[in-house]
Amino acid sequence: MNSTNRKSGLSLIEIMLSLAIFAIILLPVFMTFSSGNKNIMITETEFRAHTAALEIMEQIISLPFELIPVGKFSSRQIKSDDPENPSPIPFNVTANSSFQPELEITPVKKNDKVRFKKISVIMKFPAAKTDKRERKIELKTLVANEEI
């Protein structure tokens, strides 16, 4: 009699306990899930940043050697919204407000002649939509002066 009473009391505790255990089990499940989700976002942002960087790099190396401008170009110049300081060649980039591209082109001389231009594109972007920490990727290449 007593024991049955005790038993019925224990069953409630059992439920609570199992709930607790359940919660403990679910916690890593949710953590894994959300980190997976976050990873998707990071990958996506990186991919977009990379695509945007490629777009800039490719349009520069598509130009004849002598038309490749030398110098540093700010994000605003590249996005063509700096009317006071226009770039010597028109850029043609797809609009994306969250990316901050930078471009630096340095000439490499040999025997007083520009033999190469070193092109470096840096793309700065927030790690994810909800994560405002700044990340960056960098692309570099050399273009040779074929006239020499």
Partner: protein, 191 residues
């Protein structure tokens, strides 16, 4: 009798237990189905991202190998690519055969759930994206420069790609970019 009386649950007890159990079950089921939905959504958007990345990488690779069609005159530069809403054709150097071959990207299937195919030369056509293309546009863009760069042109392919799975539970994946075939551009300007 007495014993049985003592052993019986009270109505309140049963009700409480039933409530607790059903609340628990209901929340567990909701949680599970939400979780399932979340999983599907995440998985779909991951798949779409992967599809887009592979497609762009493949197209970029092909465009890197794109070759100037020397039979065209200067005024026909746009025709380096023959572009229709359903199809994109150009010529590219193929490593395996060591020759210039036609490359064809082709959309097929239902509007909003199209598939993307790629074919090079006479080799079998391959499906790059299966039924997940909500919309895909490709347009050639030619910039002609002025001033000291006059005479120079720059050609690019403007891509706008929206992908969504058939279940459409996830946010559509959209990417827009321009691809500049660098070597083809150099050939154009040396023509």
């Amino acid at each position: 009798m007495k014993k049985s009386e003592k052993n019986a649950f009270t109505l309140v007890e049963i009700l409480v237990v039933c409530a607790v159990v059903s609340v628990f079950l209901a929340s567990a089921i909701t949680l599970f189905s939400n979780f399932r939905q979340g999983f599907t959504r995440s998985e779909s958007s991951a798949i779409l991202l992967q599809d887009a990345a592979l497609f762009l990488a493949q197209l970029r690779n092909d465009l890197n190998n794109a070759v100037l069609d020397t039979s065209l005159t200067n005024s026909e530069i746009e025709q380096q690519f023959s572009v229709t809403p359903k199809q994109l054709n150009f010529k590219a150097y193929d490593n395996r055969e060591g020759a210039v071959l036609p490359v064809i990207y082709r959309l097929s299937g239902k509007e909003g759930n199209a598939s993307l195919w790629r074919k090079i030369g006479n080799r079998a056509e391959k499906e790059l994206i299966k039924s997940n293309v909500a919309s895909l546009t490709w347009q050639t863009e030619i910039e002609s420069f002025s001033g000291k760069a006059s005479g120079t042109v720059r050609l690019c392919l403007n891509i706008n790609c929206i992908l969504q799975t058939q279940r459409a539970q996830e946010k559509p994946f959209e990417i827009r970019t321009r691809i500049f075939p660098a070597r083809l551009n150099r050939q154009l300007n040396n023509k």
